[in-house]
């Protein structure tokens, strides 16, 4: 049997999540959760599926409060950010982490059944738990499929505040995720690991997309230029100039921020023509976070 790949120490993650749950949930719910988690010694998939759904009868969807947590979540798994989670999905994640997983095939069978029969909130819980699950390589196709969803909350669970896609998705699926996030107008600055996964193919696709938007007399989402910044060159500098000339003020700032981060000389020249914006980039006022927050507020 092949060795199991782990993304995190499961025991520590379970302990961490349980601590948070205990601060927010009532005793009856915690007892129920402990009971269901114990079932793993005499595991019955059917009871597990039912418990996974029925968790909504014990836990509400209050946002998770991490203020009392003993340590930052990212210490347990790089990029792990349960800040945006709710109590119910945390309880469901706890259950997931108790699944027997040493036999990869039967583990994946159970996960597949959960995904196939999941309601909207269950899908959110499942996809947001990706960075914690054992056998992460085996979940790539499932994630790529999840990206095809049109349910915003489900898409967000994969694409935003989630380190799994940057760590495991092949370039093709990663690019589709970013593109779809642009189409769905999602806040790109919440995509984890975006800097490491920028690539020239994605930059080229996004430039083409900008052309389509312009042809349709539509604006371009300013955050898009983040992914193009490392790939400014002779082929796209005309587009950059056009965006600076014709873009809305925020897009102009975004494009010039991309210029500031580009090693391409012509981009630097363009930036130098806008000293006021250059100054605000230099002093850290204009950042991608600022662009994203301003656009999505």
């Amino acid at each position: 049997m092949q060795a199991t790949t782990y993304q995190a120490d499961l025991a520590k993650i379970k302990e961490y999540l349980l601590q948070i749950i205990q601060k927010q949930a009532d005793t009856q719910a915690i007892t129920w959760l402990n009971e269901k988690a114990q079932l793993t010694s005499d595991f019955n998939p059917r009871s597990f599926y039912i418990a996974f759904g029925a968790a909504s009868r014990f836990f509400n969807k209050q946002p998770l409060s991490l203020s009392g947590a003993v340590l930052p979540a990212a210490k347990l798994r790089q990029g792990f950010q349960p800040d945006t989670w709710n109590l119910l999905q945390t309880a469901r994640t706890c259950l997931l982490l108790h699944l027997p997983h040493t036999d990869e095939a039967s583990y994946l069978n159970i996960l597949n059944k959960l995904f196939e029969t999941a309601d909207m909130d269950e899908q959110v819980a499942l996809y947001a738990a990706l960075p914690l699950l054992p056998h992460p390589e085996a979940l790539v196709a499932r994630t790529a499929d999840g990206i095809r969803t049109n349910m915003t909350t489900v898409f967000d669970a994969i694409a935003l505040h989630n380190p799994y896609p940057a760590d495991y998705l092949p370039e093709e699926a990663w690019n589709q995720m970013v593109l779809k996030a642009v189409f769905m107008q999602r806040p790109l600055y919440h995509i984890d690991g975006a800097d490491q996964r920028a690539n020239d193919k994605l930059a080229r696709i996004l430039i083409d997309f900008a052309h389509e938007r312009w042809a349709a007399h539509r604006q371009v989402m300013p955050e898009l230029w983040y992914f193009i910044a490392p790939y400014l060159n002779v082929d796209n500098i005309a587009d950059i100039e056009k965006a600076v000339d014709q873009g809305e003020p925020l897009e102009k700032e975004a494009v010039l921020l991309a210029c500031a981060q580009s090693p391409y000389a012509a981009a630097k020249t363009l930036l130098a023509q806008h000293p006021n914006i250059e100054k605000r980039i230099d002093d850290g006022t204009i950042t991608w976070q600022y662009i994203g927050q301003s656009y999505h507020q």
Binding site: R46, Y49, I50, G53, A54, S56, R57, N60, K61, Q62, P63, T84, N86, E116, T117, A118, D119, M120, D121, E122, Q123, N150, M151, T152, T153, F155, D156, F183, M184, Q185, R186, A216, H217, R218
Partner: protein, 302 residues
């Protein structure tokens, strides 16, 4: 005024319908699992259908400001394919406990065959185990007999009548249903089940207690605004406002609310806890699009 349509197959309806429903005051709907106009041949078709009722269709409704609930069950027509029906019985428990599933339904009789009876009974057992209300589809043919038989079987299984909604009533069935303590739902569906004028007469005669109005709008010629339209007609015909509220809103909430899965605050204080599930930034309405379209204009928004 707020309305609930506690029986509509919204999977067959367009976004225009959803907009019109919301404009007419519909705040919540219940989508019962039913057949799709032709019989399914694989259990996987049922699984995907149930999953869409608790997933995509619920999301789609939310984009128009409408809370979506559903009932899960094997309808009577498709119960006649017994090998398939047996597999569907295996599937049902996976869905009955899910959030927003407010009843087992719609179940009951169509031709009143032995197979229909077998799976009707099995599903009544499941409803008892899951502590869920039951939505009963009464047959089009031999309706009076089929309605009586449905209630007999519910009583045999010791289901409390206030946990059972008998649907698609008419003038011939309503008296017995109310007398036996069940909820009596009426479907305002052109040319087949009930017209809204007849509905007004029924409320005049029987009062509003335990009477529920729905549209059962589906893929046929039907009207997703049947509930608000009937309410308006009641108003014109002098039916007291409180009776309208009970028959077109409150009784649906009181009956299906017994599931614990449907609460008024779901629509009175939407997004109370999860701000990410907001009306904008969705994908049914592509980025930045607003849901209103001027019907008189030839311009399709860019």
């Amino acid at each position: 005024m707020n309305y609930i349509d506690p029986h509509i197959h919204a999977i067959s309806r367009t976004t225009d319908d959803y907009e019109a429903m919301r404009d007419a005051g519909i705040v919540a709907i219940i989508e019962p699992a039913f057949w799709l106009g032709q019989p399914r041949t694989q259990v996987g078709s049922f699984q995907d259908y149930f999953s869409s009722l608790v997933g995509w269709e619920r999301f789609r409704a939310s984009q128009f400001g409408i809370q979506h609930y559903c009932t899960i069950g094997l309808n009577s027509k498709e119960a006649n394919n017994e090998p398939l029906a047996e597999q569907v019985m295996e599937l049902l428990p996976l869905y009955l406990g899910k959030e927003g599933v407010v009843a087992v339904g719609e179940i009951g009789y169509d031709d009143q065959t032995a197979a229909e009876d077998r799976f009707f009974r099995q599903q009544l057992e499941m409803a008892k185990d899951a502590d869920l209300p039951v939505m009963i589809h009464t047959p089009h043919r031999d309706k009076k007999q089929g309605t009586t038989r449905s209630m007999d079987v519910c009583e045999e299984y010791k289901l409390s009548p206030d946990m059972v909604v008998i649907d698609h009533n008419n003038e011939e069935t309503v008296r017995e249903v109310l007398k036996r303590g069940f909820w009596a739902a009426f479907t305002i569906y052109p040319h087949t089940k009930m017209g809204s004028e007849r509905m007004v007469e029924i409320v005049k005669q029987y009062g509003p207690e335990r009477i529920i109005v729905n549209s059962a709008a589906d893929w046929g010629v039907s009207d997703p605004l049947a509930v608000p339209k009937t309410a308006n007609l009641m108003r014109k015909m002098g039916i007291p406002e409180e009776h309208i509220r009970l028959t077109c809103y409150q009784n649906a909430l009181d009956s299906y609310g017994k599931s614990g899965q449907m609460k008024e605050r779901d629509w009175l204080q939407p997004d109370r806890v999860d701000q990410r599930q907001k009306f904008s930034g969705n994908s049914v309405l592509r980025g930045g699009q607003t849901p209103k379209v001027d019907g008189s204009s030839d311009i399709v928004e860019n």
